[in-house]
C-alpha cells in the first residue's frame, strides 16, 4: 500500500491521494477469456477519513482501482453524502417582484451526490438498468414531505415528477450534486483512476462510494467503500460552537464586540 500526500499551500488546495488496494485476480495469469461470472472488482480505501481544515477551499480525492475487465468496459462511481432535509422554494412574480410562493421539503435527500462515469450514462446502460441500480437522482426514490399527514387525510403523497430535475439543477449549481462523464480513465480494461471534487460546502459525515463495473449494459461487479469527512479547524469549531452552545456563542460575540469597541476608542482617543 502506498500513500502520497502533497500539500500545496499557495493554492490552498489539499490533494488527498487515496490509493486503492489493488487486488489483481487473474491479470498476470493471462485471462484472455473473461466471462461475466469471474469478472471482479475488488477495492479498498487506504485512507477512509478525510480531515478538512479551516483554510478549506475544496479538496480533490483521487481514486485508483483495478478491475478484471477488458477494453470497452465501463465504470460508474457514485459518491453519496449524508442525508438531509432540503427546502426547495419556487418563486413567482407578485406585484412586480419575485417572491417565494411555494416550498417543498425533500426528506432523506443526499446532501452530496456525484456520479462519475467513463462515458455518458445513457450509452453505458439503458434506463431500466440504471433504475434498478439506483443510479441518478431521478432513480433515488426521493420524496417530498406532504403538508398534511397522508394517513389522516387520505390524500396521495405529493408527486415528485419534474421536481427532481429542478432539485438536481439547484444542487448542481452549489456544487453538491452532479454527473460528470468522461471523468474516469480506464486503461487496458484493468486500471482506472478518477477525481472526486469535494467543494467547501460539503457536510461532515459518512460518504458512501459505490464502484460499478459494467459491460454491454450489464453489471459485472460492484464494490463499496466509505469515507468519513470531518470538518476541523477554526471555522468548523466556531460553526459547531454557534450551533451547540448558541447562547454562549452570542454572549461571547457581544463581549468581543464591547472589548473591540473599547479598544478602538482607547487607541484613537483624541489627545
Amino acid at each position: 500500500m502506498i500513500r502520497h500526500s502533497h500539500h500545496n499551500h499557495s493554492a490552498s488546495i489539499r490533494m488527498t491521494f487515496i490509493l486503492w488496494l489493488l487486488t489483481f485476480v487473474s491479470i498476470s495469469f493471462g485471462a484472455h477469456e473473461v466471462s461475466a461470472r469471474d469478472a471482479q472488482l475488488v477495492a479498498d480505501l487506504s485512507e477512509n477519513s478525510v480531515s478538512i481544515e479551516s483554510d478549506f477551499h475544496g479538496t480533490e480525492l483521487l481514486l485508483f482501482g483495478a478491475i478484471d475487465g477488458m477494453q470497452g468496459d465501463d465504470i460508474i462511481i457514485v459518491v453519496r453524502g449524508p442525508d438531509v432535509k432540503i427546502a426547495q422554494r419556487r418563486k413567482s412574480k407578485v406585484a412586480g417582484i419575485w417572491i417565494n410562493v411555494e416550498t417543498n421539503i425533500w426528506t432523506k435527500t443526499p446532501s452530496f451526490y456525484q456520479i462519475l462515469a467513463t462515458r455518458d450514462l445513457a450509452k453505458i446502460a439503458d434506463e431500466d438498468t440504471l433504475q434498478t441500480l439506483g443510479v441518478g437522482a431521478h432513480n433515488l426514490a426521493l420524496q417530498i414531505a406532504p403538508e398534511k399527514d397522508p394517513i389522516e387525510t387520505g390524500l396521495p403523497m405529493p408527486t415528485v415528477n419534474g421536481m427532481v430535475g429542478e432539485l438536481t439543477a439547484n444542487m448542481s449549481k452549489i456544487g453538491l450534486w452532479g454527473a460528470k462523464v468522461d471523468t474516469i480513465t480506464l486503461k487496458e480494461g484493468a486500471l482506472f483512476r478518477s477525481v472526486i471534487d469535494l467543494p467547501s460546502n460539503v457536510l461532515s459525515g459518512l460518504y458512501d462510494v459505490r464502484i460499478i463495473h459494467m459491460r454491454d449494459g450489464m453489471v459485472l461487479s460492484e464494490d463499496n467503500a466509505s469515507i468519513t469527512i470531518n470538518k476541523g479547524g477554526l471555522s468548523a469549531t466556531i460553526y459547531n460552537m454557534a450551533h451547540q452552545y448558541s447562547f454562549f456563542y452570542g454572549l461571547f460575540a457581544v463581549i468581543f464586540a464591547i472589548a473591540a469597541g473599547w479598544l478602538a476608542a482607547a487607541l484613537f482617543r483624541k489627545k
Binding site: 432540503i86 412586480g96 417565494n100 457536510l203 456563542y249 468581543f256 476608542a265
Partner: protein
Amino acid sequence: MHIGIIIGLGGGVGFLSGLFGVGGGFLMTPLLIFFGVPPVVAVATEANQIVASSVSGVLAHMRRSNVDFKMGTILLIGGVIGSTLGVFLFALLRELGQIDLVIKLSYVVLLGIVGSLMLAESVRAILRTRQPGAARGKLHQHNWLHGLPFKMRFRRSKLYISALLPLGIGAFVGVLAAIMGVGGGFIMVPAMIYILGMPTAVVVGTSLFQIIFVTANVTILQSVQTQTVDFVLAGLLLFGAVIGAQFGTRAGAKLRGEQLRGLLALMVIAVCVKLGFDLALHPASLYSVELLK
C-alpha cells in the same frame, strides 16, 4: 469571500461613517448582500458589529457628558422589547422562506425614504447658503403627543414628557435593528429631536447608548434563534471600519458639508434602486434550495 474584500468593505463604510457621522449599518448590510453574504447572516452579523462601533462612539460622548442615561434607559427598555419581538418575527419569516424578501423590501423602503429626505435637505441647505436670511423653522411644537400619560422628568434633556414616547420610539427602532441589522440612529436621532424635543447635544450620545444594548440583545437572540451571527466576519469588518472611520473623520473636517451630504444621499438612493431592481429582475432560476438539518 476574500478577507481583503471584507476589511476593505469595512474600511469604506467606516470612512463614510466617520465622514458623515452616521452609523453605517444601513449601508453595510445591503453591501454585504451585494457581495453574496446571505441576507440573514448580513443582518445578524451587522448587529454584532454595531455593538462595537456604538461602544467606541458612546465613550467619546460620555467624556463630554452628552448622554442622558435616564432617557437612554427608557429608550432601551422599548428597544429590548421591540428587538426581542423583531428576532422572533425574523425566525418566523425565515421558516416561511420570506425573510430575504422582507429584509430587502425593508431596505428599499427605508433607504428610499432616508435617501430622498437627505437629498431634499442638502439641496435646501445648498440653496439656503446662496440665499442668506432665510428663516429657520421652530425646533418643535407642542401637539397631542405631549398630552400622553406617564409623564417623566428628564433633567439632562430638560424635558417633562410622557415615558410612552421614548418607549415607543425605542421599540420601533428595536424591531428595525432585529430585521435589518441597523442601529437605527438615522431614525432615532431625528425622532429624538423633532418628536421628543431633546437638545441636539445629547441626542447622538443617548442614541448610541441605547443602540449598544439593543444590538447586544439582537446578537444574543439571533445566535440562539437562528445561528446567523458570524463574529469572525463582524471582527474583520470592524477592523476595517475602525481605521476607515479615522480617515473619514479627518476628511470630514476639511470638506464642505452640504455637498457631501448630497453625495451620501445619492449613494443611499443608488443602493435602494439596486436592491429594488434585483427584486424585480427575472431570477436566473425560479427554484432555490436550502439544506436543513
